[in-house]
Amino acid sequence: MVKYNPENSADVLICLEHGGKGLRVKMTDFGVKPFDFTKLKEVDVNKRIEERTPGGLGIFLTRKLVDEIHYEYVNGNNVITFVKNVEH
């Protein structure tokens, strides 16, 4: 949201919440077009190197490393929430 939307100079809001099962990170990008990255096709990491191209790995890794991902478009704002469970 920061790297891919350089035209917008609005602030980005990042909220961290610890509780329940673990850590919840909620990021809001204000005044932008909808971009539901959760619906993007997943990059195929099993392709041969000749067929691989740079890109798409950030979303792939995010999906891999967190336990939940939620997307909402609220009043012209993209809102992405990650949940990372923490073992106690």
């Binding site: 990491v45 691989r52 979303i59 890794l61």
Partner: protein, 99 residues
């Protein structure tokens, strides 16, 4: 702070955090590499998808002329990233994780 340099013996060392903001700095060095080389990751704390992208592009360019990057001193965390993204099949990786 990210740093990349080529040592006297031709080894490329990278350290710090290789994220999107540092990719052009990394590219400025990696684009000068035209032979097989060792990439020493000792001191590399973090690599983003953009960092992975520049490494992939460099490896593909070198392989086109029969060369390749060999990675040494990779941390456990970055080794996990390479495993998830299957970059461990793209690069020769030496040494045990230094967790």
């Amino acid at each position: 702070m990210f740093d990349i340099r080529v040592t006297e013996n031709g080894e490329v060392t990278i350290s710090g955090r290789l994220d999107a903001a540092q990719v052009e700095k990394a590219r400025s060095i990696l684009d000068t590499i035209d032979q097989s080389c060792v990439l020493n990751m000792k001191g590399l704390d973090y690599i983003s998808s953009a960092g992975l992208g520049i490494l992939l592009a460099t490896q593909k360019r070198l392989m086109g002329s029969g060369h390749k990057i060999k990675i040494v001193n990779m941390s456990g965390h970055i080794r996990d990233i390479f495993h998830y993204t299957r970059f461990d099949t793209v690069f020769e990786i030496e040494s045990e994780p230094t967790r």
